[in-house]
């Protein structure tokens, strides 16, 4: 059983003043739990080490996919293969940030990789700002969190031009390139997540602007434009696979723009390789029985409880838990039914006294840099709650 600490909840007016407008779920319950998960420094350290090790393994696995042309096998749309290879070849396509979802790590359960949200990770605001504000509001500021996400992002934004660990020469090498930040219209969470990133980039020293995707102009020859101004750097909180499948012309334009070096796009196209749950199978091939991994296959696993999930599913949609005989015990509906599926060995999540399951989300920006939890049923979906933490 994991340990929780009760706090006084942040009031919604305060959250709204921060721009955190998605504080209440459709059933009128708060999205932010008023409890904090209590973890030890050793546990925090273990999350940090595991996440860094996993990232190195992901890089190896992606290299394996590219060398052996396994794009189709892991479900990558063919019209992104060129841009993925192109982005992989050059350091300027720096990975800004991602979020690993891990099981265990608390309550004496081993850390196991569930998946890596490498392309368009959310929960950034909650992890970087909200759980910190909870400590502050409850006069717990003497306590600590595994949370340097905000500062880690400032540094990693600088690395987009310094291209090395040391960022002290940023002012020297930054040549005034303009940085455009983008979401789709009509989703406050996505928009304000992007605006938070824009804010961090501004603090890092960039000239920044925000625009909705449908107001941006793209040209193969000239690059990316908004209000007649050219942007050399572009962040989009829009999944690459959606661009490939829903706007294939845009996929082609972006490929050309990257090839002609008119702009650099974040997160880079190769993060779609990390995002594909097909890579979980490649990881298991390359690192069989690795203690951080769960066995994963494109076929049903023999004789063990397992989770079936779509290669590019999101929000816990179309996930089934299967028993040893591959009979479905529990499942969610969704839009990803027709996707290719992977089968991942089942692992128990840590639970609280009410039987709710907890999953750790650890952000990675050059290194592991911030932890938050989500709690919900056995399958965490978009009704799951964010739970902050405190290190004691």
């Amino acid at each position: 059983m994991l340990t929780l600490q009760k706090t006084t909840a942040l009031d919604t007016d305060y959250l709204e003043s921060l721009g955190f407008v998605w504080h209440t779920d459709s059933d009128e319950t708060s999205y932010i739990s008023d409890e904090l998960v209590v973890i030890s420094e050793t546990e925090a350290e273990a999350y940090y080490e595991a996440t860094n090790e996993l990232y190195d393994m992901y890089v190896e696995a992606a290299e394996h996919v590219i060398e052996n042309n396994l794009f189709h096998e892991i479900g990558i749309p063919f019209n992104l293969v060129d841009v993925i290879k192109e982005s992989w070849e050059s350091d300027v396509h720096w990975h800004l940030y991602g979020r690993f979802d891990l099981a265990g790590g608390i309550d004496n359960k081993p850390i196991k990789l569930l998946e890596f949200n490498a392309d368009t990770p959310t929960a950034l605001f909650e992890t970087a700002i909200i759980q910190w504000a909870m400590l502050k509001q409850n006069d717990l500021e003497e306590e600590s969190q595994f949370n340097s996400l905000y500062e880690a992002l400032i540094d990693n934004f600088k690395r987009l031009v310094t291209l090395q660990e040391d960022v002290s020469n940023f002012e020297e090498v930054y040549d005034g390139w303009s940085f455009l930040f983008t979401s789709v219209k009509g989703n406050a969470e996505e928009e304000n997540t992007v605006k938070l990133l824009q804010h961090i980039a501004t603090e890092a020293g960039y000239n920044t602007e925000f625009a909705y995707i449908d107001d941006i102009e793209f040209s193969s020859e000239d690059g990316i434009f908004y209000n007649e101004q050219n942007y050399e750097l572009w962040f989009k909180l829009i999944p690459w696979e959606d661009i490939a499948l829903e706007e294939s012309d845009l996929a082609m334009l972006l490929t050309n723009i990257i090839k002609s070096q008119k702009a650099i796009i974040f997160n880079p196209a190769y993060t779609l390789l990390f995002q594909s749950k097909g890579l979980l199978k490649i990881l298991w091939d390359l690192y069989p029985n690795h203690p951080l991994l769960l066995e994963t296959s494109f076929e049903v696993l023999e004789g063990q409880k397992q989770v079936k999930k779509p290669i590019f599913g999101r929000e816990g949609e179309n996930i089934s838990i299967l028993d040893e005989n591959a009979n479905s015990i529990e499942k969610t509906e969704g839009d990803y039914d027709s996707h290719k599926m992977v089968y991942q060995a089942y692992t128990e999540l840590a639970t609280d006294s009410k039987g709710l399951s907890y999953q750790a989300g650890i952000f990675y920006a050059y290194e592991a840099c911030g932890l938050g939890f989500r709690k919900g049923g056995k399958i965490l979906d978009n009704m799951s709650k964010f739970v902050g933490h405190i290190v004691k």
Binding site: I76, E191, K195, L196, D249
Partner: protein, 198 residues
């Protein structure tokens, strides 16, 4: 450990609240006038019948619409209609699925070319028309080899490849309006929360 920090400095120092407050949005309505959808990208393909039932790609260039011109053995020309193209692509897709397509064979028996469906699929236009099977093909080395073989001369292949990877001069104007109002967003979701990253 340096990653566990006291956070008394960050948010107060950054003026985050002010910035985000000005940028705050509701779960707004999204009834922007829809920008005109851009034309689908296609290709003009000239296919030549080299012997009865065997075809090669003679030339291919980017265009806004896909047109396939068939030069038959008897010298007559035929322009394939959209439904004819779709039918041929669909037929070939079924063959790809059951493994009988020449496209995915290591050594297609015919040196004189493939059947019409296979030849169309080997063209860039085919890859676009049949994008739903494109994934299967593009991961297949035999397909890549056979594509090259389907062009009448190696230079036709490299020219075609080049003209498709080059920016199109004819339409050098900028394009916009992507995901204009069509993007699946959380407005369709119960919670109003993001559809990403979960």
């Amino acid at each position: 450990m340096k990653y566990i920090k006291k956070f008394s400095t960050i948010a107060t120092a950054t003026g985050l609240g002010a910035l985000l407050a000005t940028g705050m949005t509701g779960c707004g309505d999204n009834n922007q006038p829809q920008q005109e959808q851009a034309q689908a990208k296609g290709a003009t393909v000239i296919i030549e019948e080299t012997e009865p039932g065997k075809y090669k790609i003679l030339d291919e260039s980017p265009a806004d619409e896909t047109t396939i011109v068939l030069k038959k053995l008897d010298g007559t020309k035929q322009i394939l209609t959209k439904s004819e193209m779709d039918a041929l692509v669909k037929e070939e897709a079924a063959k790809v699925d059951n493994g009988t397509s020449e496209l995915t064979k290591a050594n297609p028996a015919a040196s004189g070319g493939m059947g019409l469906g296979g030849t169309i699929m080997a063209s860039m236009a085919g890859a676009m028309l049949g994008s739903y099977i494109g994934n299967k093909l593009f991961g297949n080395q035999n397909y890549q080899n056979n594509r090259k073989a389907s062009y009448k001369s190696p230079s036709t292949y490299s020219k075609s490849k080049k003209s498709f990877s080059q920016p199109r001069k004819s339409t050098s104007s900028k394009r916009s309006g992507f995901f204009g109002g069509n993007k699946k967003s959380s407005s369709s979701r119960s919670s109003g929360r993001s559809s990403y990253g979960g």
